[in-house]
Point group: C2
């Protein structure tokens, strides 16, 4: 019979054990952090009515969405993020759930991205949001969760950059440029790429700003210094704009709250140059950069928005949240050498090499598992060398070796696979010996 070529679709990938173990660990760590703040999990379907998804994520999302007509003639789409499903979910269930509502959602999303940019078409998102409150407590907590997430995966050297969309809005208000905000922001967004002169030019030509107005906007985007210095410099720039003044006070509040909660000053930074999602966010915004790998971009981003679910319900649901880039962070951890290459979930390996004593090996392993150890028993009574080779390749930490004589005498060898170190132990004392070796 001719075989079907085993292959995955372009832009899709398998997770082999080492990668799957690393991803499980990362998600477990993230969930523990979310839970430590009282966030609760939810899930939504992979497929939604097309009308729920279409036109909600902008042109690019629409173009990239996997969509089709199902067997019942319904137009459906595969979710391309977790935000729009959450908006639909909130509109549907918030009456029952009540507010404030804090949820996390770990789920797969699909986008028919251009794979030449090294992007995948299937990836995992890991979002958390607090909705139904405008309290600054949630702005501070969002920052604390981001901070704890990165710490939880073992990274110390990182900065959460914070800004507030009201500050720039306030400046534009003061400059009487609010009606041309989109064009100004579009120009400002190119600052990194084209430099201040070209941006100023575009502000004048495309947004109809005066040269002096363009200078003021650029001056704000260029502000540097300590957080206190930047705050002090911002106040006169937004003076007279209620929104702008509120934005500066919110920034001050978020920074003070983070400090009160013990976040080291070097891990938070007021950065007036970040803007994120020009249309969507309306208050505090966050981006997170790793000290050793700044070029990979932000690994956790988000911000405050005025109304999550306005497309689906009249109920106003202000909120704030962020999204952890699971795949980006996993690549970073791998690049930093923090991912264990071992594809191993049990530290203890038991070779099986007296064929007719199968039940003795099964009983021994059961006893170790009952004592809380994870143990793999090799299934076939091959030569010990072949079995230990398998154990080495897999990355077990130790082997509990029991031959015929040992079984009869109630003894075993405990071999540390990294060093080859051997200890002769009674089967009675084995649990204690493995505990002392921290094989849990």
């Amino acid at each position: 019979m001719s075989k079907i070529q085993p292959r995955t679709l372009k832009g899709f990938r398998d997770y082999l054990p080492a990668a799957a173990i690393a991803r499980e660990a990362l998600i477990d760590q993230a969930r523990a952090v979310y839970r430590s703040y009282g966030f609760v999990p939810i899930d939504t379907p992979a497929l939604e009515y097309l009308e729920i998804l279409a036109g909600k994520g902008g042109d690019e999302s629409d173009k990239q969405m996997y969509r089709f007509t199902d067997a019942g003639g319904r137009e459906v789409g595969m979710r391309f993020d977790l935000t729009i499903p959450f908006a639909r979910f909130a509109a549907q269930h918030i009456g029952e759930l009540g507010t404030p509502f804090k949820r996390y959602h770990v789920g797969t999303v699909w986008r028919g991205e251009n794979t030449q940019r090294g992007r995948y078409r299937e990836f995992m998102q890991c979002d958390f949001d607090t909705i139904g409150t405008e309290s600054l407590v949630s702005d501070v907590e969002t920052l604390l969760v981001i901070h704890d997430l990165v710490r939880a995966v073992g990274i110390d050297d990182f900065v959460v950059r914070v800004n507030n969309r009201k500050v720039l809005s306030g400046l534009l208000e003061r400059l009487e440029l609010s009606d041309r905000a989109t064009a100004v922001l579009r120009a400002l967004d190119k600052l990194d790429k084209v430099g201040p002169d070209k941006v100023a030019e575009e502000m004048v030509s495309a947004a109809g700003a005066s040269a002096a107005q363009a200078r003021e906007v650029l001056a704000m985007a260029a502000l540097t210094g300590t957080d206190a210095e930047v705050l002090a410099a911002l106040r006169p720039l937004v003076a007279g704009s209620e929104r702008g003044e509120r934005g500066v006070e919110e920034l001050a509040g978020v920074l003070a709250g983070a400090a009160a909660a013990g976040v080291p000053a070097e891990r938070v930074r007021l950065d007036v140059s970040i803007a994120r999602g020009l249309d969507y966010y309306t208050g505090t915004i966050y981006e997170t950069f790793l000290g050793e790998l700044p070029a990979i971009g932000s690994i956790c981003s988000g911000g405050r928005y005025d109304n999550l679910a306005e497309l689906y319900t009249k109920q106003e649901l202000p909120g704030i949240g962020a999204s952890l880039g699971v795949d980006r962070l996993l690549s970073a951890l791998e690049e930093l050498g923090r991912v264990d290459a071992r594809a191993c979930t049990a530290p203890i390996f038991v070779p099986y090499f007296v064929a007719e004593r199968r039940d003795d090996y099964l009983a021994l392993c059961a006893r170790l598992r009952a004592a809380g150890f994870a143990v793999e028993l090799y299934p076939e009574p091959k030569k010990l060398g072949a079995q230990l080779k398998y154990a080495d390749r897999r990355g077990f930490r130790c082997a509990v070796i029991v031959g015929e004589r040992e079984l009869d005498e109630g003894r075993c060898q405990v071999k540390l696979l990294a060093t080859g170190e051997n200890a002769d132990v009674t089967l009675e004392g084995l649990v204690e010996h493995l505990r002392a070796l921290a094989m849990h």
Copy 2:
């Protein structure tokens, strides 16, 4: 603006927090069991080339598969189980991974089922398999894993029913009915529904068996008694058929191994009437029934097969595995009153009710989290009564109440929400007090 009706597709559902928490707990427990035997996780894409999936799961799977043409013109399908993707995965990667290979896979699958039967079109599977070995160790371990899975979710009263496909094949060999096995098995499969007389009739009319042959097949299916009695009764029925004799010895070995590993005899039962997946399984087979809810059907089923990936590779990959019915087990746990209705991930609630002391509350919560507690701070300085009502509805276990005076005096009230019991505690002694209350 007119609103879009927020709704899920027919046959799809949202997981609200209580259900999502219960599912997370179940999956964590399953993963811990799999890992304790050395199984490693993998993942595969939701979408596969249609040729990988089509025609592999039988007519019904084909009909139920979600399939479409993607934007690149590829015919694709959404996976309807985790077995076929695993076969494709194994064909592709087994050279790199080596054998034996033990994997678990927790993933969502999609089937356009008839929803009138109360079935969902999106559900989660949780499979484990050992491939690349025919050792009976794996047959025993599969049973042990099933046993440990059900125990891990807190159920004691259940039976894993075990049979071996070689036994029935052996009987048919002895009766010289091997060439009519499919028709005989099809008739036998109706035993529960139509009774032995009708089955015997069909065996004669459709399979061309003699009345005496039909009687022998039915006699085997009707065997009852202790496992030892059934084994003894099976031996003469398969005598002379090498395959049948091997099947009986394998059954004896699996039962002995389970006993050696400490599985109580009442939780394993040789049941010659189970057949499962007539074409696919070739050796030991398993079904698992709950003592209190037998009618919901098997919550964990599986068996041994000869060659996992023959459609995709020449390499022979015999294996054995089973699939935990996550949704079925969750329904069962709910019906048994074992699912916590609380939609709460943090046991400790901190009301926020002195508005201008926000940072003090943030600092207090940070200190409790640093000590390992999960704590939710209410985001708004509402009246205490409203906040405690929220806490009651959510299901927190205790509230740490700190007013202005308490903040200044370094004291707090710890209120147990179930009983209303109150304790006056110093902030300094709070961590110890919460530890004593087991609020971790």
